[in-house]
């Protein structure tokens, strides 16, 4: 049953705040990943996506590929156990990430305008000039009325969406979150994650996912002390219930930076990526395993999904790009025996 429009906002603790009451301060939420869906190419040359089989009917024939990947990944996440319908539509949020999800469409539309005339554009596709429209069918299909954010920072947008969604949970803008990442063109496919408050979910699900992003301008990579301190603060934010940020504090034993877990670095060989990799090695005591980062923001999220499908344990991912966008991520995979109970 839906809450009356505008009558209240649920606090992060689950209490309903009457209209007119002061908002609470931010409260670090404890959320678990309860459903994961992946749509991605397998072996080269093999067919990997059948929209009619995935989406039924005509397979959303008039939607761009990135939209269809996102819809299909979300349906798979729900089949996997994610519940978006446990709460009223107003308490469900969506944070969608893409870099080039509509780039093939933009290029095609531009060719039409320059080579012919705007009257030749498809009226069904014309609204997609605004890149967030790629998620509109998703939020309509699952009635995600809390909010629909679209994040687009180069290569880190998927984790930017995780972080933005977590922040929205912290300030009480939603209680259930769909994080979706979709790309088309140089990278293809989508990942969808359903995140629910631990107290409301049926169990611990796949585990926990936290992300913190930061910006390291290429001009600042030589300032190793500041870079290391900034990364350390970012790792601190990956704790399940982080203490308030305290600028300048360096690592203490037991923080997410010093977990006994592997670290993987999605870098592009740029000075920023190299400097971040070196600083992470210093902070964690672990040499990061290099991973290829793709043209968009999909590759690190695909890896995250694969980690959740593997054995229980802690993993840390780092993304660093030539532009300066950086993300640090903690993937805490729950034990399979517990997962089955959910």
């Amino acid at each position: 049953m839906s809450a009356p429009v505008g009558s209240s906002r649920t606090t992060p603790d689950g209490d309903v705040r009457p209209a007119g009451a002061p908002a609470t301060g931010a409260v670090a939420p404890d959320v678990v990943v309860t459903g994961i869906g992946v749509v991605a190419p397998g072996r080269p040359g093999e067919p990997w996506f059948d929209p009619r089989a995935e989406l039924g009917g005509r397979g959303y024939r008039y939607a761009p590929a990135a939209t269809r990947y996102l819809l299909a990944a979300t349906r798979r996440a729900i089949v996997d156990g994610g519940r978006l319908d446990r709460l009223p539509p107003e308490r469900r949020g969506a944070a969608v990430a893409t870099n080039g999800g509509l780039e093939p469409l933009f290029a095609e539309m531009d060719r039409t305008v320059t080579g012919a005339d705007a009257t030749e554009l498809s009226p069904a596709l014309a609204p997609y000039f605004a890149i967030n429209v790629l998620g509109t069918r998703l939020v309509a299909e699952h009635q995600l009325k809390g909010f629909h954010l679209t994040l687009t920072s180069p290569r880190v947008a998927g984790f930017e969406a995780v972080e933005a969604g977590w922040r929205a949970l912290a300030v009480g803008r939603c209680d259930t979150l769909l994080v979706g990442v979709t790309e088309d063109g140089a990278e293809q496919g989508a990942v969808a994650l359903v995140l629910e408050r631990a107290g409301a979910a049926a169990g611990p699900g796949h585990g926990r996912l936290r992300a913190a992003t930061l910006f390291v301008p290429p001009s600042a990579v030589s300032d190793r002390v500041r870079l290391t301190a900034a990364l350390d603060r970012a790792f601190d934010r990956l704790a399940p219930r982080p203490a308030p940020a305290t600028p300048g504090n360096l690592t203490t034993a037991g923080t997410p930076a010093t977990l006994a877990s592997p670290v993987e670095l999605f870098g592009d060989g740029s000075p920023v990526a190299d400097a971040v990799g070196a600083a992470v090695a210093e902070l964690t005591g672990v040499n990061p395993v290099p991973r290829p980062v793709g043209a968009g923001c999909l590759a690190p999220m695909l890896r995250t999904a694969r980690l959740f499908a593997g054995p229980p344990g802690e993993h840390r991912l780092v993304v660093a790009t030539a532009e300066g966008n950086v993300a640090v991520v903690r993937v805490s995979v729950a034990a399979p025996a517990i997962r089955e109970e959910s």
């Binding site: 301060g25 967030n132 629909h148 687009t152």
Partner: protein
């Protein structure tokens, strides 16, 4: 809860650069007809847009949207008494509908190619590099409400203790694809941007950027700033989950976003509304109805300031500029006259004062922003220190 202040503003619009230029144009309230972009490849019936004058932006940044964003950001920082290089936890959040689409479009053709492929949404990244410090950085592409989502995200970052100061707002520039698509959708008014006019026939895009410096009162005090332009006292988000372009007809979700922002602000009424008000038939009617549901009987008497009639629909920059305009209204304690309409639409029962300014009798301003895909945000700004800096 963290008390969030607006301590600096910066604006770029078709009226030139600077918040002072924007305020002058608001006070003058003259009808300005749209421009035509110098783009020989723009094959469309109505290539109309309110362009930023060429001599009002620096050329050293790649792409017009980045030029606008940096210009507005530099002004906002100066206004706040900051350089961006202070040893503080700094954040940048930029909303944009199209990002640097103009560069991508230029790069597709040899005659206009610049430096090759690059991600479209690099405005926040570019601002971060321009500032030169390590900090938070986020790029939000929520269509025409992107600027207000950026502002709200900045507030949330402050409330979560992630940053001490945030530069937040929106920027957008001419895009051939966007304008072509709006032509195809029949959503371009052939005359001018004239929200709430009976004869309105769509909207007209505009270029620009609106950036604000947000910080906690505690941080502002620590550096000797007693009062800001305004306090951000309420924010509300919602999503229609309905249709790619059309607003949900009942306006339930835009009403909810307004009510949440008003409730968080204390629900003591507002002295002015800066509506989303695009000039499309359905948007203006739906928003007018929602205002009556959110504000009650006061909706018929609260003055609206229709900014898009003055500067066009600046897309992801629209709400950043609207927030700057709201800050100026609170500072001067007057709602400037609206750009005159030919004939107000009786289907939109709202008050749009023209001819002379209206005294701001309640020190709170509601700002609305809605985007394609039904992505809605509302913010309440309240005067700080009596509106006197």
């Amino acid at each position: 809860m963290t008390d969030v202040l607006v301590t600096g503003i910066g604006a770029v619009s078709c009226h030139g650069r600077g918040a002072a230029a924007l305020w002058r144009a608001m006070r003058d309230a003259r009808v300005r007809l749209p421009d035509r972009p110098a783009d020989p490849l723009a094959h469309m019936a109505l290539p109309l847009i309110y362009l930023v004058p060429e001599d009002h932006v620096p050329a050293e940044h790649p792409g017009r949207a980045a030029q606008f964003a940096v210009t507005a950001a530099a002004e906002a920082l100066r206004d706040a008494g900051l350089t961006g290089r202070e040893r503080t936890r700094f954040g940048v959040v930029v909303g944009s509908c199209m990002g640097e689409a103009g560069l991508r479009e230029a790069d597709r053709y040899p005659e206009s190619r610049t430096a090759g492929r690059r991600p479209a949404f690099q405005l926040a990244t570019h601002l971060g590099a321009w500032l030169g410090g390590i900090g938070a950085n986020s790029s939000i592409a929520n269509a025409c409400s992107a600027g207000l989502f950026a502002l709200c995200t900045a507030v949330d970052m402050l409330r979560c203790g992630e940053v001490d100061v945030v530069l937040a707002g929106g920027a957008d520039a001419y895009s051939r694809v966007a304008l072509g698509c709006f032509n195809r959708l029949g959503a371009v008014d052939p005359v001018r941007c004239r929200p709430y006019d009976r004869h309105r026939a769509g909207t007209v895009f505009g270029e620009g950027a609106g950036m604000l410096v947000l910080e906690s009162r505690e941080h502002a005090r620590a550096r000797g700033v007693g009062t800001g332009y305004a306090r951000v006292t309420g924010t509300g988000w919602s999503c229609d989950a309905h249709h790619p372009t059309a607003p949900e007809p009942a306006g339930d979700q835009i009403t909810r976003a307004m009510r949440e922002a008003l409730a968080e602000a204390g629900d003591d009424g507002v002295g002015c509304v800066l509506p989303h008000g695009t000039g499309t038939q359905l948007n203006d009617v739906t928003e007018s109805g929602a205002l009556h549901r959110a504000l009650g009987p006061a909706a018929g008497s609260v003055p609206l300031y229709s900014l898009k009639a003055l500067i066009g629909h600046t897309g992801g920059a629209a709400a950043g500029l609207a927030a700057c305009a709201a800050a100026l209204i609170l500072r001067h304690r007057v709602v400037p006259p609206n750009v005159p309409l030919d004939e107000p639409d009786p289907a939109c029962p709202v008050r749009l004062p023209v001819g002379a300014g209206t005294a701001l009798d309640v020190d709170r301003v509601l700002v609305n922003a809605y985007g394609f895909g039904g992505t809605n945000a509302s913010v309440v700004l309240a005067a700080d220190g009596g509106g006197v800096r």
